[in-house]
Symmetry: C2
């Protein structure tokens, strides 16, 4: 039986309980009741010894594309029709399946979302969905799946890109990526700050030029045939005279690889070509970079790139550049000239977000429409106050200080007074009563709404989320972020606050809830 991907990746790309709940809502007449779900994450990714201080939103465009394409086809319904329960009875009735056939698509959804590339923080709604209950529920799993993974990878990429600075950063992780997520991961890496990817198909489909040169195996082939490393390099230079980047560590980096590369570079230079550089994939990359840099300089190739790969991440890059800064002069080399010529290929640890392999994104019911446009806030009180939901239909504002630096994200009740009108800004901690800040209005230079209209009754109103626009948003948000928040280790906690009115609403609801009134 060949695996039918159109079924596995179509509208049934969801959890079974979304379908059983949808049928229950259909049977109880609740399926058309409009509800409001918030998508947010609870915690930054924590990579073992160090934690992120921000995330980079990603995945929205692919989610929207998926939503546009899927619906219940006869084939999907056929599978559901055939499914039986414990007593052998059919799980899904024809009445419900007929309803799905007519209504089971995402053309009734209204959605606001934070655009891709923006810096985002815990407990801030990144996507909010208003839809008929049965439909909103069906969307839960695919929405989480699309946004969680790409946001996770864009975040990791952003951290690596911070350390790579102006150096070229290439996403290299396809071979150890989680299956087809190699493609979503390549996209998210580009949003998060990688310049290119080695993934050929995804790059082309995204309008990027895939990058890559050659592997150890190429050198091995020439060696097995008696032509040696030099023969391999010469062949490569012949075929790619203007894109000649040579992997120099198959035999011995400093004794064989770099000298052979320099020989070939000299031959290229005579023919009027400019060699690109070398790649180091093993050994002490800092030490080898310094020594190779010196050899390239002395041979008259001060512009040749030194491309590093092999289990890199932001911490390893940091270690390498720190070590170069400390010890290059010992070898008579200017550290900055070495670091400036470095480029990075980052693979496994980026595409799997090693150390924090999932984002804790959730999709929670926060309001139910009682009558047209009258929303009842819904709550779930957790054992931990920090996990208790922020109820209701909310607006999200990012506050900037007079230097233009983001100072906090503020959740308000959507129909409360515009914060621009306030004399004083009260920033309430989401769960601790004693923790709040009062900020004079004049200390806030801007209240920026973070959520933008995305779908209105199923119609797309958000412009296409291109990677270039997302990259520009990330860049601008990083410029406006406090350095304490974006630092790679032990970041300062960015404030996500509730308005006074939202705080009071939440307290009232908790009170009603725990006293059993609701």
């Amino acid at each position: 039986m060949q695996f039918d991907r159109s079924v596995a990746e179509g509208i049934l790309f969801t959890d079974q309980y979304q379908l059983t709940m949808a049928q229950l809502y259909f049977r109880t007449g609740l399926h058309k009741k409009r509800v409001h779900f918030d998508y947010f994450f609870r915690k930054y990714p924590d990579y073992g010894m160090h934690q992120a201080g921000y995330c980079v939103a990603a995945g929205l465009e692919w989610l929207l594309n998926w939503m546009e394409q899927v619906e219940f086809r006869e084939k999907d319904l056929e599978y559901m029709r055939a499914q039986t329960g414990t007593a052998g009875e059919r799980i899904f009735g024809d009445d419900f399946l007929d309803w799905l056939k007519q209504n089971g698509r995402f053309d009734t959804i209204t959605m606001k979302a934070v655009p891709e590339g923006r810096l985002v923080h815990p407990n801030v709604p990144i996507a909010v969905v208003q839809a008929p209950l049965a439909i909103a529920q069906l969307l839960e799993t695919p929405l989480l799946n699309h946004l969680n993974y790409q946001t996770l990878i864009a975040t990791k990429a952003s951290r690596v890109a911070q350390r790579a600075g102006d150096s070229l950063l290439i996403e290299f992780g396809m071979r150890r990526a989680p299956g087809k997520a190699a493609n979503a991961g390549a996209r998210a890496a580009l949003i998060g700050g990688a310049n290119f990817s080695s993934n050929a198909g995804a790059s082309h489909a995204l309008g990027y030029s895939p990058k890559g040169t050659h592997a150890h195996s190429m050198v091995q082939v020439f060696m097995a045939l008696g032509e040696g490393e030099l023969g391999a390099f010469r062949a490569y230079a012949d075929v790619y005279p203007d894109d000649c980047l040579l992997l120099v560590d198959t035999i011995d980096t400093l004794e064989s690889g770099v000298p052979n590369a320099i020989k070939v570079f000299e031959e290229l230079k005579k023919k009027g070509h400019r060699p690109l550089g070398i790649r180091l994939d093993s050994g002490d990359l800092a030490y080898l970079s310094i020594k190779a840099s010196k050899m390239l300089d002395e041979a008259g190739f001060p512009d040749a790139t030194i491309f590093l790969s092999n289990e890199l991440d932001e911490m390893v890059i940091w270690q390498i550049t720190s070590q170069i800064e400390k010890s290059a002069s010992r070898y008579g080399v200017d550290p900055e000239s070495v670091i400036k010529r470095l480029a990075y290929g980052v693979g496994t640890k980026l595409i799997t977000s090693e150390g924090a392999s999932a984002l804790s994104g959730v999709y929670k019911l926060v309001a139910v429409e009682e009558s047209p446009n009258k929303w009842i806030p819904a709550l779930k009180v957790s054992e931990s106050a920090a996990k208790t939901l922020n109820p209701g239909n909310k607006a999200v504002w990012r506050l900037y200080d007079n230097e233009g630096i983001a100072m906090a994200d503020l959740l308000t009740i959507r129909d409360e007074e515009d914060p621009h009108e306030w004399d004083e800004v009260i920033l309430r901690h989401p769960s601790e009563p004693s923790k709040y800040r009062k900020v004079p209005r004049k200390h806030v230079s801007e209240f920026e709404p973070l959520l933008v209209d995305t779908l209105k009754d199923g119609k797309r109103v958000l412009e296409e989320q291109t990677i270039e626009k997302a990259r520009a948003r990330r860049k601008r948000d990083l410029e406006r972020a406090d350095g304490g928040v974006t630092r790679l280790i032990n970041p300062h906690v960015y404030h996500v606050s509730l308005s006074q009115r939202l705080w009071e609403l939440k307290q009232d609801l908790i009170e009603q809830f725990t006293s059993g009134e609701r």
Copy 2:
């Protein structure tokens, strides 16, 4: 620009450097030379404080399906034709693209592989590929991508399944899975021992019944509408009287959830239905299981399942069952009766293999065909002896002792004497000269060849790798594995050895290599 998945998931689902190397081989006339690549992994997944002692092979069937389906279409070649290099020149010439159009598919490959579900160990070839050089190279990335991720997840699932024992284990991770890898992950989890998945589409496409009941949001909806948790439970029981499993922790597990569930179960029982049980998704799962078990027993539902979820993995399950074993009797409950009724939903930590998010699988050139059927072994000598390749076309045998327990995997030169003929079995450590074992032939009850014919000149000769067969292989291999190897913490190191002749070949090649003769 809509992302064209047919390009990103077709034959260009590979790294760019496979394409640039393929063109180089084409230009140098080496593209048709047959080569031999081994796929193997170097290290077991290491989940932080504990390491796997075996892996479970998975992903082969999907790799083979992908290989059958892809080829260079005009659309793919168009992208390659348009790609330019540093000097603005085209990277790929028409001659090469024409060749790809005619020959760029996997119909010339001969492959042997270890069937899915089998227990596998580091440095043992799990797939071996013989193919024309350009084609073998193109396959590298997709082969690694397919086999690495599914083997990683099947391995993690197998560990969880070991702890779950006879209890039902359901894969639950779709929402935090890496994008579309949710589907490959669900498949791998089933191979590794999960009984079902919550993933609706993938389950159907794999011939499994997806599993799931309801979420907190359903209870919240009924609460917001004034009908409370009991109303929600009653509605669920009405719609699913024979599949009634209720999530009891939305308000308060022991004070509200379990008593309400019991009320509804009693109503169901009166109508002649048998309730399935309850689900616990927060709090101290061990303590709550004991207390809920007691309440269910006392209400006359001793068969009701207690389904646990919330960030489970093999260690958390172990903790829960240990705690129950220790403290259940304190509450007047038989520990075994609690453990027996447990079922587990395992999500994020399974589908992302948390703590070890990638398998270190590699695809290495080990031989080049000099003349028909005459292979020259190829080597890559690493700085660490352990990473130096085992050269040449090899056979792989699993040795069993007289109790039928697997005692070692043995790599031999493919055309050396059949081990069955040996008087004495010499098991050489792959890199340390002083480490070897001599085993009398009579202590080996069986030499089992691990690699089976998969593709012959592109034609599939391996039967379909169904999940059921893979599950059966895993089960049988676990029965024949040493308990030290399969234990979850600090496992005994399984021996992967070289035959005396392979050892000698390797040493000769290292000698030639380091003396510069090759």
